[in-house]
Symmetry: C2
Subunit: 350 residues, 2 copies
């Protein structure tokens, strides 16, 4: 018909045309409602802090949400109502459309050449509480891809820990086995180690798990000796039969600092141009594995042989790392990230 102009098709696009302020308004309110949902009974001040807004604005919005019956105020705080939950669920696609998350998801899926990109709204650094959302989203993906009696390998890190906390029994198929994708992580916080997280996954979903505690940075001889142990061999066998891997992606520098690497090791990484880290491998900008930590763990070939891979990482600072990691092909991967990382990735790609 008409040549140049792209026709408006959907109602929501027309709404946005005639009421542009709705986009921001919806975004704000939705975040409030979502926060109240997540933080359970929460006070006005705590809410304001979590969303980085003034107390008064928090009050204004919560007043409105209460009047609309979307939240319920009590002495112990505000919590979401039944209709609030419905609204949250129904409006999600619209929020994603208007905030541009939908298009970002599509663009990144294409540019990273992976199966799917899922973005949760927010910045994991600015608003740590949205890690819960990342977790919920990842847990949802897991429940979709995992079938009965499958083996799920998980890695460590704070993000993965959050996901483990978000898993509920009803979500997941039965008879799964969770295993740590790698041995110990040295002096790291116990709660962030793969073994612990595998246990949490299993516990929260009512499934079994297998652990393997090993010291990190083994010498060549010690490594060769230990992989002959029956317990270890058994674990390596499990890696071969792993169906789903769910892992974080780390920034190489941050990772090296967290592990008590020596200065030589750090400068070694820098020399090789390491940008990202995932299950013990360090990758450079072009996606080449430039180094790996010598410990028992799932191998890259084993990962790539898996049915599904779920990668989870968020925050602007992770953007470069995520890009680097996906330079090596990982077609069957589903990435769960936040909008801050997504924006930065698209910015870096331009």
């Amino acid at each position: 018909m008409r040549g140049e102009r792209k026709d408006i098709i959907t109602v929501s696009e027309a709404q946005l045309k005639i009421m542009p302020e709705m986009s921001e308004l919806l975004h704000t309110r939705y975040r409030f409602l979502q926060m109240i949902d997540m933080l359970g009974p929460v006070g006005r001040r705590g809410l304001a802090e979590n969303l980085s807004v003034g107390e008064r604005e928090a009050r204004k919005e919560t007043d409105l949400l209460r009047e609309q019956g979307l939240i319920i105020a009590s002495h112990s705080g505000m919590r979401i109502s039944e209709s609030g939950k419905e609204v949250l669920e129904i409006l999600k696609p619209l929020v994603y459309e208007w905030s541009g998350i939908s298009v970002m998801e599509k663009q990144l899926t294409q540019k990273l050449c992976i199966q799917r990109v899922l973005i949760v709204d927010g910045d994991i650094n600015e608003t740590p509480s949205i890690k819960i959302l990342l977790g919920l989203e990842a847990a949802k993906v897991l429940s979709k891809v995992a079938k009965e009696k499958e083996i799920i390998a998980v890695t460590g890190g704070s993000t993965l820990a959050a996901i483990a906390d978000s898993v509920t029994p009803s979500d997941q198929p039965n008879n799964l086995t969770f295993i740590a994708a790698r041995g110990g992580m040295g002096v790291d916080d116990m709660r962030l180690q793969a073994n612990t997280i595998a246990a949490t996954f299993a516990h929260n979903s009512g499934n079994a798990y297998r652990t393997l505690y090993l010291p990190e940075h083994l010498s060549e001889t010690a490594y060769k000796a230990i992989i002959e142990e029956p317990m270890v061999k058994e674990m390596i066998d499990l890696y071969d039969r792993t169906d789903v891997v769910i892992h974080g992606i780390g920034s190489a520098i941050e990772m090296a600092s967290r592990r008590n690497s020596t200065e030589t090791e750090k400068s070694n990484l820098l020399e090789h141009g390491a940008v990202s880290e995932a299950f013990g491998y360090y990758f450079d900008e072009s996606g080449k594995a430039v180094q790996r930590i010598q410990t028992v763990g799932i191998q890259r070939e084993q990962v790539n042989r898996c049915k599904s891979i779920i990668a989870v990482a968020g925050g602007k600072n992770k953007a470069a790392a995520i890009l680097s990691y996906f330079k090596q092909g990982a077609n069957q991967t589903i990435l769960v990230t936040d909008s801050a990382a997504a924006k930065e990735m698209l910015h870096l790609l331009k």
Copy 2:
């Protein structure tokens, strides 16, 4: 599932829950856009007057609409853009839903026991320009119900005149014949007489018409004599073959005043409790025809025999009259009215 609470289903309902101010906002903006569309190139001040808002508000809204590219400002005034028209069209159902017009349409259709009720937003008395909308709506209905070679009888009145103006050639089927539902209306404004309006309909749609000019208030003998005239007989024959009637509904008192009725006639009407008037018949509250003007015109039985009847009337003051008229069964009628009349009708029915 849950017993009591009615579940939110649609996205638009959820939007309204979380952003209640959107309803009014959309309504306002939509009216602006609609007005600009109707009034063609129009200035800020004229627009403000038409919508009964301050000059500043008119300016604020038009500024926004212009920024959004929905309207185009030029030295001769503002007019709607292509995308503006699209938005107008796409958003109509939403406006109707949020302003409660949709539910009013359903309620009235049921309570009046007629085929369909179509409501245009506004008050025909406060905003005369929306008569154009009434007209457009009625013309749209006509184009849907009228088939080729059919005979359309029209009555008089300012509303019908507005409809006639809104008819365009492309709208209507070909080879229609428009006829006046009744002879002259005495001393009334020429432009509001059925004969003139039939001619306008025909002219604007590129069809034929037949007129019949007769004096009103004929004596019994004169009446009997005149209906023997070939020209008149021919017209009466047309009434028998009429397919579609499109008529206004008048308030009895106003009608009697407009026609130069004598005081006796007026008090006579009051005595009989006449409330409404349509094609020469006066009806009381219960829908009984209490009087009719003695002139050549379509008879009630002939009307009821028609395939489709389109009734058009708007304004709060017409509410009682419309209710009265539809008390006599008129199942195949489609009523086109405005929201002011609709509200009042529902109010009176409670």
